[in-house]
């Protein structure tokens, strides 16, 4: 297309288009892109203090890859994803299907499942800390056990994973519910005339039809899990013996950057995490061709 051939009206329309997207683009550049560039630069620097950086090349990365604590945190993050993502999505789909069925008080249930998302993560974590409390927690009272949920290295990650799934399942369910409601009823009718049972319907109609939504949910949930920080921060103190066994990459980043003041090293951890997320997301986009159905 030749630009000079644009009519005056078309050009004006084009200009308006730019003006309309400008706030978003400017916001994206100022708030996301530029800080990313700065973080990338900082990862090659030592932070001297108060925003002054000294270029030190790859030293942060060399130190990082030689650090056992870093690899432990990387594994913790992956382990956390393995614990939360599959369980979370299956549960969310289950809840969505229940809410899609003809049940009484459907509106009430939807509200209840969505409620955790409205609560501040910090408040959620504080409440769960008391539930998990080894001495006085209601969970141990119910189980009649004395499990040190948050301080025992074996159970600490599981405890955080439970809270994470609990607080995200409602949101995912609402997204999946929207996907379920978009499935035309006629498909089920035709299918049952053909004599298919409920289970077969689920695998031949529901699952393929909802797969695009599931794909979005999967991507978002994986990213959120790989960036998990607030729950661990709230549930795990500096003196927790299980700290090393539960700290995620983002928590390690926080401790390096804001507690030790080594922002360069912290930035290197962030770049590593971003690379991991990028890799996982690329793999998913490649893998989706095998299981996501976009047309019937």
């Amino acid at each position: 297309m030749n630009k000079t051939k644009l009519s005056a009206a078309a050009r004006r329309e084009e200009n308006w288009g730019w003006i309309m997207v400008a706030p978003t683009i400017i916001g994206l550049v100022v708030l996301n892109l530029w800080p990313f560039v700065q973080t990338l630069y900082a990862s090659f620097c030592e932070h001297l203090g108060f925003g002054h950086y000294k270029f030190i090349g790859l030293k942060n990365y060399v130190d990082m890859f030689a650090n056992a604590e870093f690899w432990k945190a990387t594994w913790n993050t992956i382990y956390f994803c393995i614990l939360t993502v599959p369980v979370g999505i299956v549960l969310a789909l289950f809840v969505a299907m229940l809410l899609n069925a003809k049940v009484k008080f459907k509106g009430g249930f939807r509200t209840i499942f969505f409620l955790p998302l409205v609560c501040a993560p910090a408040a959620v974590a504080m409440v769960w800390r008391w539930i998990f409390n080894g001495e006085y927690g209601i969970l141990n009272q119910m189980l009649g056990q004395k499990i040190q949920w948050i301080t025992d290295p074996k159970t600490a990650v599981i405890a955080v994973a439970i809270v994470s799934v609990w607080s995200s399942v409602g949101y995912d369910a609402v997204l999946l519910l929207a996907g379920l409601q978009n499935i035309p009823k006629t498909l089920y009718e035709a299918n049952s005339i053909d004599g298919a049972g409920k289970v077969r319907q689920f695998f031949t109609i529901t699952l393929p039809m909802v797969s695009p939504t599931m794909f979005s949910v999967l991507i978002m949930r994986l990213m959120a899990s790989m960036k998990v920080y607030d729950l661990i921060y709230m549930m795990c103190d500096e003196t927790n013996p299980a700290l090393v066994d539960m700290q995620s990459l983002m928590y390690l980043f926080y401790r390096s950057s804001f507690i030790s003041g080594s922002r360069g090293y912290g930035s290197a951890i962030v770049i590593w995490t971003v690379s991991l997320i990028l890799l996982v997301t690329l793999v998913q986009f490649w893998g989706q061709k095998k299981w996501v159905t976009y047309d019937i």
């Binding site: 001495e135 301080t151 003196t239 013996p241 080594s262």
Partner: protein
């Protein structure tokens, strides 16, 4: 009609610009100062002090702002980078060297030069001045308060177990024996020793004649025999039945355990006493405080010691209202300002001779806590441990302590802690 959207857009833009630039001036013609603190319990005391100043200077308004401790330093550092710091802010010993050595803080050494060249040494203790000084020995904050660590004990449990209350002659052995006795007779925990520096093992180290940093604040002393023995003694306290272990303390702080009446002793900072009197009204009269128990056979010294820290008021070297702020600081560090702070109960004034003004607010309770203990302990108080590199090695050393409590070999952990702290000596 087509012009209408453009006019609206222009109006919105104008409003935006005004809101951005509009914060500089003030409508009432007064100078507005901001005063940033982190302890909500001291807000009223700080406000009272500011009110006394503004009563004498009607053209000044001081706005006291509280930010929680966990966010305070992140915010303050960001403000320092963008040169938008509050006019006056509290400074903590953990951070003062970082800020002062980087040239962020205004040098206040000559603040009282006209009045009295030796003002600081005449009115503040050496520990207070040291806690407010930069690495260059200049003063970067007006000493605000001072504190130390005391032994808090439950009188009812001591009575029930038939043990005499702790006094200034108590030793570690007495504390251990009393703990056992209380546990045997009442089933309650004894002295609750948890993984903490200032409210924990530091005190024991100095009582035993050891040190965390040598007298020049350069080399660490973790492998010094007196230090190592004291830390081992402290860590091993949790091996007794009468002391909960670290997993317990991760979820339940000794203070929480004490005030829910499951344990009978813990170490507490003097700065928390007033709020504990206020927050646990049903406990008033059931507990009291005593000097820290002495080390019975110290490697050196008389076995006494308590860690004493103090805050100070600082301001930015590049502050816009520096001259005015200095005048306010002069008032905060003066007799009147310090007296108001003490009487409000906010904290023990750093100003020598005004310590007992702090008793005032304790008199409002049915039971008068033995706060004289806090004042008497200043005679042998140890300066809070700090040097310019500590903020870098503190978290790593703390991680090693966590491993010790998880069962790692203590001697190799102490060697590792020594190595970590000393690795910063030459490079800085």
């Amino acid at each position: 009609m087509r012009k209408l959207p453009r006019m609206i857009a222009a109006a919105l833009l104008l409003a935006l610009l005004l809101s951005v630039t509009g914060c500089g001036g003030s409508a009432d013609g007064k100078t507005h100062l901001t005063f940033q603190i982190w302890d909500v319990n001291q807000r009223d005391g700080m406000q009272a002090m500011c009110d006394a100043y503004t009563a004498q200077h009607p053209d000044v308004v001081i706005d006291v702002q509280v930010t929680s401790w966990s966010e305070y330093w992140t915010k303050l550092e960001a403000a320092a980078e963008s040169n938008t710091m509050p006019d006056i802010y509290w400074m903590h010993t953990d951070q003062i060297l970082y800020y002062a050595d980087f040239g962020i803080l205004a040098d206040l050494t000559d603040l009282y030069a006209d009045e009295d060249p030796d003002y600081y040494s005449n009115h503040f203790s050496d520990v207070s001045i040291a806690n407010a000084s930069g690495s260059d020995g200049h003063i970067y904050g007006v000493p605000k308060d001072k504190d130390n660590v005391v032994l808090v004990y439950n009188k009812e449990m001591f009575d029930a177990a038939g043990v005499a209350y702790p006094d200034e002659n108590w030793t570690w052995d007495d504390m251990m024996a009393a703990s056992q006795q209380v546990y045997d007779k009442t089933g309650k925990y004894g002295y609750m020793a948890y993984n903490d520096e200032q409210l924990g093992y530091w005190n024991f180290v100095y009582q035993n004649g050891g040190y965390i940093l040598d007298e020049n604040n350069v080399y660490a002393g973790y492998t010094n025999p007196a230090t190592a023995d004291a830390i081992k003694f402290y860590v091993d306290i949790q091996k007794n039945d009468w002391c909960p272990d670290q997993t317990y303390f991760t979820e339940t702080s000794p203070g929480t355990a004490f005030f829910s009446e499951v344990g009978c002793m813990f170490l507490e900072g003097s700065w928390n006493l007033l709020s504990e009197m206020q927050n646990y009204p049903e406990m008033v009269g059931k507990w009291d405080i005593a000097p820290l128990p002495k080390c019975p056979n110290p490697a050196s010294g008389d076995g006494r010691g308590t860690i004493s820290n103090g805050l100070c008021y600082s301001t930015a070297a590049k502050g816009k209202n520096l001259e005015l702020v200095k005048d306010v600081l002069r008032f905060f560090g003066g007799e009147e300002g310090q007296r108001i702070q003490g009487e409000s109960g906010a904290a023990i004034p750093a100003y020598l001779g005004l310590e007992d003004t702090w008793t005032t607010s304790f008199k409002s309770f049915d039971y008068l806590l033995d706060v004289d203990v806090c004042y008497d302990q200043f005679d042998y108080a140890v300066k809070y441990i700090n040097n310019a590199t500590r903020r870098k090695w503190k978290p790593t050393v703390a991680d090693e302590m966590v491993k010790v409590y998880k069962g790692a070999d203590i001697d190799s952990s102490l060697a590792r802690m020594q190595e970590i702290a000393d690795s910063y000596v030459t490079t800085e």
